[in-house]
């Protein structure tokens, strides 16, 4: 296991912004390995640069230093090897659900019959096949994110990158989506890098939780979580869950404490 190429390998990644004449360090230096098939969450205080970090891994914004490798191959541009899911729905409002999911496959030149088969498979996987002819504007927030997940899975990326995908949903929908995501993830067997500010969500979903410090971001702690899968929402009530949760809460709270003092 240890010697295998990691699904995602980040080596000494740094990000410095120039704001006017000032140089702002958003990410100090982060090295991280995400093993094949694992679900890894990144939590950190808000504004710590965890979304920036994910966008750099996705290739959407340039990094200042370091390297990102996907299955050993260095990348610095967006590409279908990394399936990205955003906080807000990025579904095309002018395409119906079916065509949205088919879009990536069409762009990549896949023939129609094969394409239709794949789209059908993933729309059924997220239980929204009946809504294939609807426009995104006719769907609820939770449904849109399920479609987004189907769209990403359809083009079969090596890894999934998820940027607070349930951040805009209400608490109940959110829990349902977490259970759904676990089910779909277990079927697809993909490596996931999941950014969230919700500790419960991170602990519930992940094999590994990476805790970032406040700005400039560094890795503060890496926590392995080995509850049995599939997990049910009841896992929230166990003592181990609460212990891990409280530990992460303390880590983040220390952070916020120090940044508050800085503010004063």
């Amino acid at each position: 296991m240890e010697n295998k190429t990691p699904a995602i390998e980040i080596e000494k990644l740094g990000k410095v912004y120039t704001r006017g004449k000032e140089e702002v360090t958003a990410i100090q230096e982060i090295s991280l390995k995400i093993p094949e098939g694992k679900f890894v969450s990144i939590v950190g205080p808000s504004g710590c640069g965890k979304s920036t970090f994910l966008h750099i891994v996705g290739g959407f914004i340039p990094k200042s230093s370091g390297k990102v490798r996907i299955r050993g191959k260095e990348v610095d541009k967006p590409g279908p090897d990394r399936g990205m899911m955003f906080q807000e729905s990025a579904l095309f409002p002018w395409k119906n659900v079916f065509d949205n999911v088919a879009w990536g496959l069409e762009i990549q030149g896949m023939e129609k019959s094969k394409r239709d088969e794949i789209v059908e498979h993933y729309l059924k996987l997220v239980n929204l096949w009946d809504f294939r002819k609807n426009l995104p504007s006719e769907l609820s927030g939770g449904m849109k994110q399920r479609i987004s997940l189907a769209r990403v899975l359809a083009f079969n990326p090596d890894v999934l990158l998820m940027d607070e995908p349930f951040g805009a949903l209400d608490a109940q929908t959110r829990e349902k989506m977490q259970v759904e995501l676990q089910r779909i993830w277990q079927e697809s067997n993909k490596s996931v890098m999941f950014v969230t500010h919700d500790i419960d969500e991170a602990v519930f979903l992940s094999d590994i939780v990476v805790v970032f410090s406040g700005r400039p971001a560094v890795v503060k702690e890496i926590i392995e979580i080995d509850f049995q899968r599939p997990r049910t929402l009841d896992v929230h009530k166990t003592q181990e869950f609460m212990d891990i949760r409280n530990h992460i809460w303390d880590l983040l709270h220390q952070e916020q404490g120090t940044s508050d003092e800085e503010g004063m």
Partner: protein, 249 residues
């Protein structure tokens, strides 16, 4: 019945104008020669249709309108989109549009006539120039405001630059493009008539000037009524097209 009532309420402001008009005529506030009754105007308008004068002139005007408008759309939409993508192009072109916008461009018409003559060419060029501004500016500002997530999602799915441009940026900007087109089309019609009034041998503007030479106001007003009607229909047309292409809003 209900529909007719709704229609009446929607257009009630027009009814007040008609009533006020007829009142002015009835009370003889202005001499009839200068201010003919609406019924008289409508009779003349009807005559213009039956004698074929409308059919002789309207197609020529419409041809100029659509030619100039289409040319402006074909050039303006890609230009506006490209300006939002390329800083270099934007730096080169933006000053022309910012400085050129407040210029009364019709003032350039005599120069265009000098170069292109009094026929359709000078008029189409004038309409093209006039329409280019709202189309380019609305397309440009609209496409700078397209959510970056759409573009990122497309790149993520492996779309190359031209696929992102034509298959994401263009449809995502469509609502703003139509805002520009909806401003441009009536302008095209107005400029066509105006330039035809300045100098032409055919067209609705020509007909209007020709009629006013008779010094009979009902003939001029009949032309105005017909022009208004055509302008209204043009507006309906572009709204229909908009509903077809921007169905998701």
């Amino acid at each position: 019945m209900k529909k007719g009532w709704k229609f009446l309420i929607e257009y009630q402001s027009l009814i007040w104008i008609v009533v006020a008009w007829e009142l002015v005529v009835f009370l003889q506030i202005m001499p009839e020669r200068l201010f003919p009754s609406l019924s008289k105007v409508l009779v003349v308008a009807f005559e213009l249709i039956t004698t074929g004068m409308l059919l002789e002139n309207l197609p020529i005007t419409l041809f100029r309108v659509f030619a100039g408008f289409a040319l402006a759309a074909v050039v303006g939409v890609p230009l506006g989109l490209l300006m939002s993508r390329s800083k270099l192009l934007n730096d080169l072109v933006q000053p022309i549009f910012s400085l050129g916008f407040p210029i009364p461009r019709v003032a350039l018409y005599p120069i265009l006539v000098f170069i292109l003559g009094l026929g359709s060419a000078s008029k189409i060029t004038m309409i093209f120039l006039e329409c280019l501004f709202p189309i380019v500016l609305n397309t440009y500002y609209g496409s700078t405001r397209v959510g970056k997530l759409y573009l990122w999602a497309a790149q993520n799915m492996g779309a190359n630059r031209s696929q992102v441009f034509w298959r994401v940026l263009l449809p995502a900007t469509m609502p703003s493009i139509f805002t520009g087109l909806k401003i441009a089309l009536p302008m095209a019609f107005i400029i066509a008539i105006l330039t035809e009034m300045i100098g032409a041998t055919a067209g609705m503007g020509y007909l209007l000037t020709y009629m006013s030479a008779s010094l009979m106001q009902e003939k001029v007003l009949a032309c105005v009524v017909l022009i208004t009607l055509v302008g209204y229909l043009l507006n309906l047309l572009i709204q229909k097209i908009q509903r077809k292409y921007v169905f998701w809003q």
